[in-house]
Symmetry: C2
Subunit: 544 residues, 2 copies
């Protein structure tokens, strides 16, 4: 069964090896044993529902608790410590667009706030219930998961928008196709969730971000149904898909989505290349990106992430051999690991990898074959389970990400890691911070940083510490000129920083769009543009 | 000097060869000699300006006439026959964003409608002045043409948005870069115009549509200045660029635009491939597109366009030889010409062309080398001058375009050409109609049809005939399920058909966005979503 207070299925465990624990003790100190709150105890404290009865709405405490939060650090702290905060008053599981309409009408009649819930994997607070007197209805879309239409000629497939990654890919794979959208949350996150949060998959270099994959669909809004036809391209005015993308539940509920699919590739390979240092690696990466070589993935780890990856890989003997070889080839302390993937027919894949390796070698890159890439691919949705094991040993893991132009990639990475270190230092703690560039563009790259640090066993202390950490790294991003999110979205956690990039006029335009579709303000209130103008003004003042 | 009533510079002429005239006489009959209205006569009939004086506004009749219309068939008929209809009351030529602001404030104070004018190349009626009591100010942006910022690391360049294609490319070329955006209107159309009408260049397969090239910018709106930062990518809420793209002057004036540029390619080659018939050609094209081969262009002419191209190519002897060779290889009557381009470093270009030719050969494609492609490239901005020569001989040329899924490409092409033929047949006239697929996607293609038919020498007759023709082909597009425009935009000519694809809720959302930035309704009133709800409802009823 799905864990109620952690990642993934509770039959799947990735315990930490002694080596890894030793490494962590070295980097941030000995963790304490954590005692999680019990599900039943938390359920017993859930207040009575304030919703009128409705045949589609479940108001039981266990269901409300299981659908009340996501996977942000704030959500984890709340659930693990048993302090969930406001929860929805009921959860509906509609099976059709018509039932979604019925639920929206029900919410409108009773002035209930509505929270659309896909796979529950948001890491930025899209799913929390707002505090206040208004009842809250969460609409879980997991039963809108059917393949509704399939057009191999146009390479289009239409799904219920609540379909999760594995179900979607299984249905396409059976027909010889793939969507090719593989975010780390793939095992649970949903098509609709990807769209309304502007998700980006690990192989977006080939398949495109979800913005490119989303061709059209159907959205139920409080003002009516929005049908968006799927054209190959159009110059006809405002592209309505763009009002849905990134709307984070504020204008309605996407119930059907038509996506652009591809034939399953003959070949899907990942090669590892090591560079002596960051400078060479980043330069090679930029040149590969700007040569527009048709790869599927480019992912560059900085020296600390590279070291961490090798230390946690297990198989000490083999890694030792590899490191001795790399050292002879000039890649020793400070080396950086680049993973490059290509997908498609065998010949173009060979050509693309060959062309990219040629550029890498010009910058002292050392090709290390496909073994590391194969291992990465096999574990790419598994690493996230480590978060459970780390928590059990008293360690928190949080991540933050942005995208920025090439010249500012390295300074931004540095600023983010330093901001985290400073916050933890002030608390007398160390942070193990490392970064990779996860998505690469001719213009720049996404910067994805991970922080591992110790928990205290006290909710208030850990919560306050996380808030300080989150504020410091977010401010570092904004001050560096990066977007507040490249792939996770805004939710509540990033809402105070959105004003810096959209401006007052832009934020007001977004609100105007929301009001058009949702004049009563029912839909996911407080998310994205926030209820938090004051906080935003504070941030703006601080950064000015 | 720029022609006031036709395409391009008046020192450039492409007279029709006797062969071509013979061909046309054969297809649609003998044309009459046309007598154009004289510039001075039309100027003398321009009514006095209703605008208050402003130091930046020129109210002279010649300037108002020269900036009052675009290049749509309606505009041509009006200018050639000397019946221009409503013209702006004045034209301003601002040199900075601040002057644009000043002009918007001036317009707001005097409740003047504002029409942004880029290169004056719109073919769908973006530029006409609305009738009515309100004075009209056209803002010509051609002096906002400087390169403002250049970042080779991020491959970004910021220009004044009024920069025209050749000036833009010249400034980039001097630095070793290109934008790679080459619509047929390239010689006059502007960066800002491309953006606000969602333009697509001939090599968009490599460089992207303008949507992908436009990274950020500055827009002056009646409500204030909208600054859009240029991130490599972002998941932060609604993408404000998307409110600017396709806005067609309704929310403000784009004064600066940051675009994604590329290194000048080592190689920029175009190959011709002939197919025995449409079916083989279209199938090959679809497979090439869906294999995602990194080409720069795919452009497929149907049999009539292929025949027309060969008949008008001049050099009868060489063409005769080619046709005998093609005939031996199975491409005779009904053959179709595919042009495929690739740009970039020499090796990847060779690989891409090689991979595409392999697929073409599987579908009986016959490679005909690079000569035809070179000729096409040399003339790609010249063919449009033929419109002048044809008019002089009594022939009208109009074009229409859409984009649609693969399965409906052929039926849509047929429906469009048939609709035109029927309208002209009812008038006792013939039409020479031909089509090419100009932009190719894995999902489908754009369908671009050209109509050549005879003029009568009478404005009212020709105007009524064109309206019937335009209505018939537009209705055929909507009935086929295509978008009303793939690359030309909406303006006034397509406004009645926009409702069919956006729906009432979508149109209302667009209007809401316009109202947000322009509560007084100053900006390009009547364009895009139209003042013409009734006409739209008529269309919807007809098609239902």
């Amino acid at each position: 069964m799905r864990r109620w207070n952690g990642w993934g299925d509770d039959t799947i465990d990735f315990p930490l090896q002694e080596d890894a624990l030793h490494f962590l003790r070295e980097r941030v100190g000995q963790g304490i044993a954590m005692a999680d709150a019990a599900f039943e105890d938390v359920c017993n404290r859930v207040p009575p529902s304030r919703l009128r009865p409705h045949r589609l709405v479940d108001i039981s405490a266990p269901v409300r608790l299981r659908n009340g939060l996501g996977q942000s650090m704030q959500d984890w702290l709340r659930l693990r410590y048993g302090v969930p905060g406001p929860l929805p008053d009921g959860v509906a599981f509609p099976e059709s667009s018509e039932q979604v309409r019925e639920l929206l009408d029900f919410a409108a009649r009773h002035d209930a706030a509505v929270i659309p819930y896909g796979g529950g994997t948001s890491v930025v607070g899209h799913l929390g219930a707002p505090a206040g007197a208004r009842p809250v209805l969460t609409i879980n879309l997991s039963r809108l998961n059917r393949l509704l239409d399939f057009d191999p000629d146009a390479q289009l497939a239409t799904f219920g928008a609540g379909v999760a990654g594995p179900e979607l890919e299984a249905q396409l794979r059976a027909r010889g196709y793939t969507l090719g959208h593989f975010p780390q949350s793939f095992e649970y996150s949903t098509l609709g969730g990807w769209i309304v949060t502007r998700s980006s998959g690990q192989q977006s270099l080939r398949y495109g971000r979800i913005e490119q994959l989303f061709a059209g669909g159907r959205m139920e809004t409080p003002q009516g149904t929005l049908h968006i036809p799927a054209f190959p391209a159009s110059a006809a005015g405002i592209d309505l898909r763009e009002l849905v993308l990134g709307s984070e539940g504020r204008i309605g509920i996407l119930t059907e989505a038509t996506v652009r699919i591809s034939r399953l590739p003959q070949s899907d390979s990942f090669h590892a290349v090591f560079f002596p240092g960051w400078r060479e690696a980043e330069t090679a990466l930029r040149h590969i990106a700007q040569a527009r070589i048709p790869l599927s993935m480019l992912r560059l780890s900085n020296p600390v992430e590279t070291m961490t990856t090798l230390r946690l890989a297990g198989n000490k003997g083999l890694i030792g051999l590899l490191e001795r070889y790399l050292s002879l080839r000039g890649c020793a302390h400070g080396k950086c690991l680049l993973l490059m993937g290509a997908s498609g027919d065998r010949l173009p894949v060979q050509q693309a990898i060959g062309n990219a390796l040629r550029i890498a070698r010009n910058h002292h890159g050392v090709h290390a074959g496909e073994a590391i890439g194969r291992k990465w691919k096999a574990n790419r949705f598994r690493n996230v389970y480590l978060r459970n094991a780390l928590w059990g040993r008293g360690y928190a893991v949080d991540t933050v990400e942005t995208a920025i132009d090439w010249l500012r990639v390295q300074p931004t990475m540095h600023a983010i890691e330093q901001a985290a270190a400073q916050v933890l230092h002030a608390e007398g703690e160390r942070v193990h911070a490392y970064t990779h560039l996860s998505h690469i563009y001719p213009q720049g790259a996404s910067v994805y940083s991970t922080f591992v640090y110790r928990l205290t066993g006290n909710f208030n202390t850990d919560f306050a510490r996380w808030r300080r950490l989150k504020a410091a790294v977010s401010e570092a991003i904004v001050a560096s000129g990066g977007t507040i999110s490249h792939q996770h979205g805004v939710g509540t956690d990033h809402a105070p920083y959105l004003h810096a990039e959209k401006g007052e006029l832009g934020i007001a335009a977004m609100r105007q769009v929301f009001r058009h579709f949702d004049p009563q303000g029912l839909m996911n209130p407080g998310k994205l543009t926030g209820a938090c103008n004051e906080e935003a003004t504070d941030v703006a003042r601080k950064l000015a």
